[in-house]
């Protein structure tokens, strides 16, 4: 045994040194072509070539894929630059692989959560300020803030989503409630939730995470960070008040988390009738249509908290890679894709809300029943965009899922210290 062990060690040593030598030779392959071109620094000069573009999207389904494909195809035929749309199986992973290989997609969906990481390692082209000013000023200012990192406006928001209260109208009527009873305050919400709770139905069923309960924080005048992400405010009195309110609903039994009633998310619980109300975004329309077409529902604004109206907003942008050989064409494509016509097309195809203010009235005409979602863009707040924020939010979500039996202050204190660590 000892002999074989020695041999193994020797072999290992030989293999290791050989590979080290190989790796040493190989180390040249990166340094020759990477002299820090592009990256966060080069915002003025765009690369230009005849290379075709690839567009990587994280699609919600065929409707979205086909809509983006046809929009990109029509741009291709008018501009003469070839472009292919690739629906990703796992957007984060495929993006990361592309950046590491220095062969990224030219244009891609980018979430607010992924922006800081890629912006910090120089993978992204900060092209926001090179957009035509009439388009740039047309974006909702809060969205521009979402995609501003380190003082630079990185990418054009492609859509916006907000949270509102979704009500099952049949259950609403069955509980003897009328249009006059739509909750205006936190107390109203507690009252109607209690009235709607009976048998297998809970008044309010939401996903137990910051991305939903954060709406209460905003209504109480708080949020995890300030709007510029320069100050952590997770343990503020407003946030404690918001979570305490949610906790009181949980303890009263008039609110439950989706996971606790055996549903994957609020929309599923709502569609299955496990909850009479839920807090979800405008994406719920698609799943109600396809999975629960017989459920009648209405979208109303969330109640006002101690500090008035408030909700959370979510958004994605069209990222352009710093390593793209044809940024000029990519920018033109993005201008087209964020234009009013294209955004309204996308809305019709898969229900997203346009990121530009000039499309608002057309959108409301098209979807009158969903206007509360779009109205919320006036007062909605974003989620924190700090580098490495994702694990902190995941950790917070895990604790919020236990809110019923955990002190809100404890939850928020740990979020505070975890977020504070990201600011340094």
């Amino acid at each position: 045994m000892s002999r074989s062990l020695t041999r193994t060690v020797l072999m290992g040593a030989v293999a290791a040194s050989a590979a080290l030598a190989l790796a040493g030779c190989g180390s040249g392959f990166g340094s020759s072509n990477d002299t820090g071109n592009g990256g966060s620094g080069s915002t003025s000069k765009l690369t230009s070539s005849n290379d075709p573009l690839t567009v990587l999207i994280g699609s919600s389904g065929d409707a979205e894929t086909n809509a983006v494909k046809s929009a990109v195809a029509s741009w291709s035929s008018s501009s003469g630059t070839k472009a292919t749309v690739i629906p990703a199986n796992n957007l984060d992973q495929q993006l990361a692989q592309g950046f590491a290989a220095k062969k990224p997609a030219d244009v891609f969906y980018l979430s607010t959560g992924s922006l800081p990481g890629y912006a910090a390692n120089g993978s992204l082209l900060a092209y926001g300020d090179q957009l035509p000013s009439d388009l740039k000023n047309d974006f909702y200012p809060s969205l521009v803030k979402n995609f501003t990192y380190d003082g630079k406006f990185y990418c054009a928001p492609k859509d916006v989503s907000t949270l509102q209260l979704i009500i099952n109208t049949d259950k609403w009527k069955a509980a003897g409630l009328t249009d006059a009873d739509y909750p205006k305050t936190w107390d109203d919400l507690a009252t109607v939730a209690k009235k709607l709770t009976s048998g297998g139905t809970t008044g309010l069923v939401v996903s137990g995470q910051y991305e939903r309960l954060g709406a209460f924080m905003v209504q109480a005048g708080g949020n995890l960070t300030n709007a510029d992400n320069t100050k952590v405010t997770a343990d503020s009195a407003a946030n404690v008040k918001a979570l305490s309110y949610a906790q009181s609903l949980l303890k009263a039994g008039s609110m439950k988390f989706a996971a606790d009633v055996g549903a994957g998310w609020g929309g599923e619980a709502f569609g299955k009738g496990l909850g009479a109300m839920t807090i979800e975004g405008n994406w719920i329309s698609g799943s109600m249509q396809s999975d629960y077409p017989n459920v009648h529902y209405k979208v109303v604004p969330l109640p006002e908290g101690p500090k008035g109206k408030g909700t959370l907003q979510f958004t994605n942008c069209w990222g352009i890679a710093a390593d793209s050989p044809n940024q000029k064409a990519a920018l033109k494509l993005v201008e087209q894709l964020t234009s009013k016509e294209d955004q309204l097309q996308f809305s019709k195809a898969f229900g997203v809300m346009p990121s530009i203010q000039s499309a608002a009235s057309d959108w409301k005409q098209e979807f009158p029943e969903y206007t509360p979602f779009l109205d919320a863009t006036d007062y909605a707040e974003g989620v924190p965009t700090l580098k490495n924020v994702a694990p902190v939010i995941t950790d917070l979500d895990g604790k919020i899922a236990q809110l019923k039996t955990t002190d809100p202050k404890t939850i928020l204190d740990s979020a505070q210290s975890n977020l504070q660590a990201l600011l340094k």
Binding site: Q97, N121, A259, N418
Partner: protein
């Protein structure tokens, strides 16, 4: 010129055949060596470098802008009290419970199944063999999805439990440790101060001792369900290779079937046992796909595993250095566990005491050499 000629004749004279063999053996192994080097050794060394660098995920890790940062990445996950350390500690805790429960259970279950299926008197052995092996050939993703349905809070498992008067847990959403839950049933809801206030890797000792969460328990059952069949096959092959002579000799000596199993069959299965436990250990420490499909590390991080955390840190959070560092710590853990297990299962000389007081069951017919060992 002359020297070369001399050397050549020299070589031919000394090891005429051997020399040709060496050259051709290198020639024949070269393709594999190149492939292994290219796709295994170099990537591993690149990852090792990444774990000591500040590479951010753009371009080559060997490019000019990437700096050596020493042990910074390792420090971030093993000290400092931040979330990275907590998550890493928690992932180790989760995976340790997973290993401690899955490896022994699946080994025993596999051995029992193999013995049953090996029984000559069993009717329909072919059917049972296929049935037990079936979960192993099914895609782990498919089985995980099935598990999600079965262990849903309103799913089949809880339904069955309710017939028995048991209110089943909310499996995939309950972060409470099983041992904590049992203690809780006896009214113990918080641990002694010494355990709560002290800890290791950002996780208090009380939480280290919490046991696997309900979600992790479901994954443990899943692992036992899927891998026992594979290892059953290994044991079955070994069992079928054993000669019947020893068994017969023991029967003549009046050994019971249990004695024959523990004293004759089991010792002969030692090499297979080593294989099964080693494969089990390595597989368990690398558990990834079930977590990826079923839980994403939740609820409250109680199904995080180092392998999944490494993936998350690198590909999702662009913290490639930390991701690589986690992978290398995991590598060391696996090596250490394998060495320990190899040491435990080593061939031992029969102790002096045993030789002086032979065990009650004497096995006649053992060849002299066998008995000496």
């Amino acid at each position: 010129m002359t020297t070369v000629a001399t050397r050549r004749t020299d070589g031919v004279r000394r090891g005429s055949i051997r020399k040709g063999e060496t050259a051709s053996s290198w020639l024949f192994t070269a393709p594999v060596l190149v492939l292994l080097g290219l796709f295994l050794v170099i990537p591993i060394l690149m990852a090792l470098w990444v774990s000591f660098s500040d590479w951010g995920g753009r371009g080559s890790p060997f490019s000019a802008g990437v700096n050596f940062v020493g042990l910074k990445n390792y420090e971030a996950i093993t000290s400092g009290g931040g979330l990275a350390e907590q998550n890493f500690g928690q992932s180790l805790r989760n995976n340790l419970w997973y290993v401690v429960l899955v490896v022994p259970i699946q080994t025993v279950v596999a051995l029992v199944l193999a013995s049953l299926v090996n029984n000559q008197r069993l009717k329909g052995r072919g059917f049972f063999r296929t049935a037990f092996y079936f979960p192993s050939v099914t895609s782990s993703v498919a089985i995980t999805v099935l598990w999600l349905f079965l262990f849903n809070t309103t799913g089949a498992i809880n339904k069955v439990l309710s017939w028995l008067g048991v209110h089943g847990p909310n499996w995939f959403n309950d972060p409470q440790g099983v041992l904590h839950a049992i203690l809780g049933a006896f009214g113990v809801t918080s641990g002694p101060g010494a355990l709560v206030s002290h800890g290791f890797l950002g996780v208090s000792w009380w939480d280290w001792l919490a046991g696997p969460s309900w979600a992790m328990s479901a994954l443990i059952l899943l692992a036992v369900f899927t891998t026992s069949g594979t290892f059953m096959l290994l044991f079955l092959a070994a069992l079928q290779n054993l000669s019947g002579d020893l068994q017969e000799a023991a029967m003549v000596d009046g050994a019971t079937s249990w004695e024959r199993f523990t004293r004759i069959t089991l010792p002969q299965l030692r090499p297979t046992l080593f294989t099964v436990i080693t494969l089990g250990l390595i597989g368990c420490w690398q558990v990834f796909d079930q977590v990826y499909v079923a839980t994403d590390g939740g609820p409250d991080g109680t199904t995080l595993t180092p392998a999944f955390l490494s993936y998350q840190a690198s590909l999702i959070n662009q913290d490639w250095g930390q991701g690589a560092a986690i992978a290398f710590i995991l590598f060391v853990i696996i090596i250490v566990f394998t060495l320990i297990q190899r040491w435990v299962l080593r061939e031992r000389a029969v102790s002096k005491r045993r030789r002086l007081n032979p065990p009650p069951v004497k096995v006649a017919g053992l060849p002299a050499g066998e008995a000496e060992r």
